[in-house]
């Protein structure tokens, strides 16, 4: 009885509210519109996946549980459009019939062109009485944007810029005919945060992570992205043509126009570039279920994998970065030829001397090409330099005057493919012994890759871990062994051509032996130094480190320490070995040092066995730890 009463009351409220909006909006007396509102309401069209995708709704299935990811009132027609897909549909219909046509470009038929298009397909016999609107800006824009094919673009990892540590994704829309295989003039579709130049860079990282920025879609020529990633940031680009049909591609293009200057919330870890692209793909092909696979994090390469698993990919194309190309060419030369490349890059006239002419044509071509590329690389981050410009010109001129100039082209191997690498999350079960105490340990890592993990598909010498947790249990007690928030270890080898810094930053909580027993201490540890390729597949490093430690056991709130760390990383075919000797001295005179050896044995893509041994001295006592772990990688 009560229920009936309430629903009557509800109906009356709805009726009066809708009567009111109808009174406000002039076109409501239009019979065709009224019929559309009735039909769509009866068939519950607002529940249609395509509608929900176009408005970026999440939640449901009750009408009260929806929330659109769009954070911009302009995007919606109903006042409560962000939370009410049903009202939004009705108000959209009314807006499409709006007779206020002073500014055609701002009319719903133009602003909401994808929604309009979808509704026209749903009701092909309606929309005969809508006002005639000319979407001039849209039509001009469309002349420039192709609509035939879509590729997923993955600029790979770039450790020295935190936003790029996990890679990045964007879409590229191609015309039917890729001008002789070139995609330079294709359209890149990129989702990123809106930043004002006046923003203080210190607050910038925090805002980006915490959601202080809004994100929008940006459409730009693809060659700008090639220059940005391949040349300026020296990141390899992986391109995956997708099997979207021209009709599906067109849906993305239409929807993009709706998203012009529309703001979304931007969060670095989940609602990021990759997440938004999945939404676009679902607009293109509504039956795809991509975004529901991502909750806490949407790591770009994981979204690439989900697209691969949805059978969307048709091919893989590799665009090596400038440094990848230079290193590839350098590997074709012997030591003295490499030295000559360096000399020529400083004085291009040397190509007319016997130093250069003694070599055969093929080697000469490689030397010319490498020296030229190296000069261009040197200017990636700087403005014009006269000696560089002069030498670059002389080399180009020489290349031009060389008959049948040819330089080897780099191709990728299967083991380089980033989407084939181990999955991002890791679970480990460990059995170990600490002095004479045996223990079991459970480890979980949210993401992403450690130096010792299977290298296939990852950048050599690049460790990025976010959120790892270890719980240890002995016979007597169990404890949180450590909780790492961030752990980044970047080993980039130096040679005659490249002199990068190697560095490390990690922070979190870990057990430390203080006053005779374990105490959970907070710490921030960082280091900077150098690394070298001593021999193939190896890396020797040394760095100075600094550490801040905080524990209730200390008299000072924060205890600082400085130290050194040195190690050897060696990749074998069966796995990776890592030997490290490190030590630090605290301000309160405590001295710690440790020797650690880790041997990883890969068992296929997502499984590994890891052995490790540790000998350490702390507060004057020696400890030995040995453990064996089984690692399982999953998504």
């Amino acid at each position: 009885m009560h229920i009936i009463k309430i629903s009557w009351l509800y109906a009356i409220i709805i009726l009066s509210v809708s009567l009111q909006t109808q009174a406000n909006e002039n076109p409501a007396h239009n019979t065709e519109l009224q019929a559309l509102i009735d039909t769509s309401s009866q068939s519950e069209l607002w529940k249609d996946t395509e509608w929900l995708n176009l408005l970026h709704y999440q939640g449901g299935p009750d009408v009260t549980n929806f929330l659109s990811q769009v954070d911009d009132p302009v995007f919606f027609n109903a006042k409560d459009g962000k939370t009410n897909p049903k009202n939004e549909l009705k108000e959209t219909l009314i807006s499409l019939y709006a007779t206020n046509t002073a500014n055609h470009n701002e009319h719903a038929q133009c602003r909401n062109i994808a929604r309009f298009n979808w509704l026209k397909q749903k009701y092909p016999n309606s929309f005969k009485q809508t006002p005639h609107i000319e979407c001039k800006q849209y039509n001009e824009w469309r002349k420039e944007v192709p609509e035939e094919k879509v590729s997923l673009i993955f600029p790979a990892y770039h450790l020295n810029s935190p936003s790029s540590m996990f890679g990045h994704t964007l879409l590229r829309i191609d015309p039917a005919e890729n001008e002789q295989g070139s995609t330079w003039l294709s359209t890149a579709v990129n989702f990123g945060a809106n930043i004002q130049n006046s923003d203080n860079s210190i607050f910038f990282a925090v805002k980006g992570l915490a959601g202080g920025y809004s994100g929008t879609f940006i459409v730009a020529p693809y060659y700008e992205k090639i220059k940005e990633y391949n040349r300026q940031e020296n990141r390899d680009i992986w391109e995956y043509p997708l099997n979207l049909t021209p009709a599906e591609t067109k849906r993305i293009v239409l929807h993009l126009w709706e998203l012009k200057n529309i703001k979304f919330d931007y969060y670095f870890f989940d609602e990021n570039c990759s997440y938004r692209l999945l939404e676009l793909l679902q607009v293109a092909r509504p039956k795809l279920k991509l975004i529901q696979q991502f909750g806490l994090t949407a790591i770009p390469i994981d979204t690439v994998r989900s697209i691969e698993q949805a059978d969307l990919m048709t091919d893989t194309i590799y665009r090596p970065s400038q440094t990848t190309s230079i290193n590839y060419l350098l590997n074709k030369l012997n030591k003295s030829q490499q030295e000559l490349v360096l000399k020529i890059s400083k004085d291009a006239q040397l190509i007319h001397t016997d130093n250069f002419l003694q070599y055969n044509k093929q080697i000469q071509h490689i030397i010319l090409d490498t020296a030229y590329r190296y000069l261009r690389y040197q200017q990636n981050d700087s403005g014009r330099s006269e000696p560089n410009a002069k030498n670059s010109y002389l080399l180009l001129d020489a290349i031009n005057k060389t008959d049948n100039f040819s330089s080897p082209k780099i191709t990728f191997t299967e083991s380089q493919r980033p989407e084939k690498g181990h999955l991002s999350k890791r679970l480990a079960v460990t059995a170990g012994e600490y002095n004479d105490q045996s223990y079991m340990q459970l480890d979980f890592r949210m993401s992403f890759h450690s130096l010792e993990d299977n290298l296939e598909g990852f950048l050599e010498g690049a460790q990025i871990n976010i959120g790892s947790l270890s719980l240890r249990a002995t016979e007597d007690e169990s404890q949180l062994q450590h909780l790492d928030l961030i752990d980044i270890f970047s080993l980039t080898p130096r040679n005659d051509f490249f002199q990068p810094l190697s560095w490390r930053v990690y922070t979190g909580l870990e057990q430390q032996l203080i006053n005779g027993r374990d105490h959970l201490t907070a710490h921030v540890t960082g280091g900077a130094g150098v690394s070298y390729n001593a021999w193939p597949s190896s890396s020797i490093y040394g760095m100075f480190t600094a550490r801040l430690e905080s524990s209730s056991q200390y008299t000072q709130a924060i205890e600082p320490a400085i130290g050194i760390s040195t190690g050897l990383l060696q990749h074998f075919s069966l796995g990776t070995a890592h030997l490290e000797l490190s030590g630090e001295e605290f301000y309160h005179d405590e001295f710690r040092h440790r020797l650690k050896y880790i041997q990883n044995i890969n068992l296929g893509r997502n499984h590994a066995i890891q052995l490790s041994a540790l000998r350490q001295r702390q507060t004057g006592l020696y400890f030995t730890e040995a453990q064996i772990s089984y690692h399982y990688f999953f998504h």
Partner: protein, 158 residues
């Protein structure tokens, strides 16, 4: 978690040295060859957002940054050339490449004539690029001259 991670990343971001390059200026038509990269997005601005700064456009602005910011604009051979002149000079020296193709497309050269355009640019490299100080304006003028005196390409000269 988000907050904790934020503050840690802040530490990281402020401790590593990110080059803040000045914004790119003008359309680049007066730029000399090998101008180097002076933009477009200062590195620090891309730290956690993958965003770009300033003139966000939603169109195919084939001009370099700061050149055109108002929505859709047609390709023009000249602005395309100014944007990719370094890459184009390399392709001209070598006789082929994607920058070469992109410039020929932007200049309106039909697919069947693009190989010829590339070949001709290659053999005229020294006159199109007489020195490292040549500007995009001059290169464009030379290309127009070259096409004008070629029976196959003359029809593409504006």
């Amino acid at each position: 978690m988000k907050r904790l991670v934020s503050s840690t990343l802040l530490l990281l971001a402020s401790s590593s040295a990110f080059a803040v390059a000045p914004g790119g200026g003008g359309c680049g038509w007066g730029n000399a060859l090998f101008e180097g990269q002076s933009g477009p997005a200062p590195h620090i601005l891309a730290v956690t957002t993958n965003g770009t700064s300033g003139n966000n456009t939603f169109g195919m602005t084939t001009g370099t940054n700061g050149c055109n910011t108002s929505g859709a604009l047609g390709y023009s051979g000249k602005s395309m050339l100014a944007s990719v002149m370094d890459e184009f000079s390399e392709d001209a020296a070598k006789g082929e490449g994607e920058a070469m193709t992109a410039v020929s497309v932007a200049m309106g050269v039909s697919p069947e004539d693009r190989a010829h355009f590339a070949q001709l640019t290659h053999s005229n490299f020294s006159s199109i690029f007489p020195s490292q100080d040549v500007t995009a304006d001059q290169v464009y003028a030379s290309l127009q001259e070259m096409m004008k005196s070629d029976t196959q390409l003359a029809k593409y000269v504006i």
